[in-house]
């Protein structure tokens, strides 16, 4: 699934003697036309790629989680109306306009999926990994979430229910995982380092604090 089985790629001359794949050539042609026709500003293209490749990522969500762990009032605001609460920490924007945060409890574990495409809270978690966008996860998360979690190495107690959130509209979900045990001495920044990307999707749990904690 990770590579393109496309057969009907266009034929291009090799440009400048470089060896480009058919897909590179096809995209290059598209970009050339869109830029030359004035629909796309190359500076916007560069800014978009730079923003989403390097500036956004799960560290934003991790900051939100850590704050919720240490600040009960923030946690309340976050679970009540996540979008403005995240804005307090400067987290938000395209793909996170309408955030919903769902909190794990000993009774219920939350798992986020988008069966129909790839909806994901970009400004909170960055661009999604390939597996999140791929048929195995999208097909199975809603019908056999416990089996999926097991493949991620997460085995929940049978008494902990699993709640799957299928992102079928413009709401975007972040899971608020439970704070691991043994973190009493850690400050907010240290706690944030325990928050994995997967723990905010629901396919993982936060790291346990190291022996130095």
């Amino acid at each position: 699934m990770a590579h393109d089985h496309d057969h009907d790629h266009h034929h291009h001359e090799t440009q400048g003697g470089s060896e480009l794949s058919p897909m590179e050539l096809r995209v290059r042609a598209l970009e050339s036309v869109l830029v030359e026709k004035g629909y796309v500003d190359p500076a916007a293209l560069d800014a978009l790629i730079e923003t989403y490749e390097t500036r956004i990522g799960p560290h934003n969500g991790a900051r939100v989680v850590a704050r919720a762990w240490v600040d009960p009032a923030f946690r309340t605001r976050l679970l009540g109306d996540a979008t403005p609460a995240m804005r307090e920490l400067g987290v938000g924007g395209r793909g996170g306009e309408h955030m919903v945060v769902v909190a794990n409890t000993p009774d219920e574990h939350n798992l986020v999926v988008c069966t129909l495409c790839s909806c994901y809270p970009w400004p909170v978690l960055g661009l999604p990994p390939v597996w999140y966008k791929s048929p195995p996860y999208r097909s199975r998360a809603v019908i056999e979430p416990r089996a999926v979690l097991a493949e991620f190495g997460v085995t929940l107690p049978p008494t902990q229910r699993i709640r799957v959130w299928d992102s079928t509209a413009e709401l975007r979900y972040m899971v608020l995982p439970m704070c691991p045990a043994g973190t009493e001495g850690l400050d907010e920044a240290a706690l944030a380092t325990l928050v994995t990307r997967d723990s905010m999707i629901g396919t993982g749990l936060p790291r346990a604090p190291g022996p130095s904690a």
Partner: protein, 225 residues
């Protein structure tokens, strides 16, 4: 549409396969496709729902054997051609041979940071009151539109419980076809795994979807349309 994108509950795709290093992009062209799709999405020629619709309109076999950004690329090419912004020959050659068509907006480099930090909210006022309230039992309607919809097949016909009334939002089923935002009330509806998948469902499993008001009907038989 009941297309290749509607994957919930399907079998046969094998295990989930996380990558060791999980690069955001796997080839230079993927970055360009991402950026081009985002930039063109701002042009006003179409909207996000239309782009999703274009992607899922790929023949199911092609959809399922194309990589993620290959799907984006093919849909973007179709949209560009379909809206008369470039010809197939231009996209094939990379050489412009027809005049540019007018577009509503061109995203400038300096606009990216402020616009994308603010985002593009899709909540809209809806004049009528919400038909359903938290706690209501509702049935996901058995609709099978050949056009875009965000009601996945696996919930259709099943009864769930309204958990949250979110307010009005742009209705993708019309907006995708440039037939208006026609905002509707949006709900979170929870279904039990047993109701969705039958007696062999994993125990203690529930699934929520976000459902627009017209996707739902009261289970009071007298009010079922």
């Amino acid at each position: 549409m009941n297309g290749g994108q509607d994957l919930g509950g399907m079998h046969g795709f094998g295990p989930v396969a996380p990558e060791a290093d999980e690069p955001r992009f796997h080839a230079a062209w993927e970055k360009r496709v991402f950026g081009l799709a985002m930039a063109m999405g701002y042009s006003g020629a179409w909207n996000l729902d239309a782009s999703r619709s274009a992607r899922e309109a790929l023949p199911p076999g092609e959809y399922l054997t194309s990589s993620y950004y290959a799907i984006w690329l093919k849909a973007l090419e179709r949209q560009v051609q379909g809206h008369g912004l470039a010809t197939p020959e231009e996209l094939s050659s990379g050489i412009v041979s027809t005049p540019a068509a007018p577009v509503k907006r061109v995203l400038r480099g300096t606009e990216v940071a402020p616009l994308f930090a603010r985002g593009f909210p899709s909540d809209r006022p809806v004049p009528d009151p919400a038909r359903f309230s938290a706690g209501d039992r509702v049935r996901a309607r058995n609709i099978n539109p050949s056009g875009h919809t965000r009601l996945p097949r696996y919930v259709r016909g099943h009864v769930g419980t309204v958990e949250t009334v979110h307010g009005g939002f742009v209705f993708p089923d019309t907006n995708a076809h440039l037939a208006g935002e026609a905002p509707q009330w949006l709900y979170t509806v929870r279904f039990s795994g047993h109701d969705l998948w039958g007696e062999r469902a994993e125990p203690g499993h529930a699934v929520s979807v976000n459902a627009f008001e017209s996707y739902l009907e009261s289970i009071d038989p007298a009010s079922v349309r």
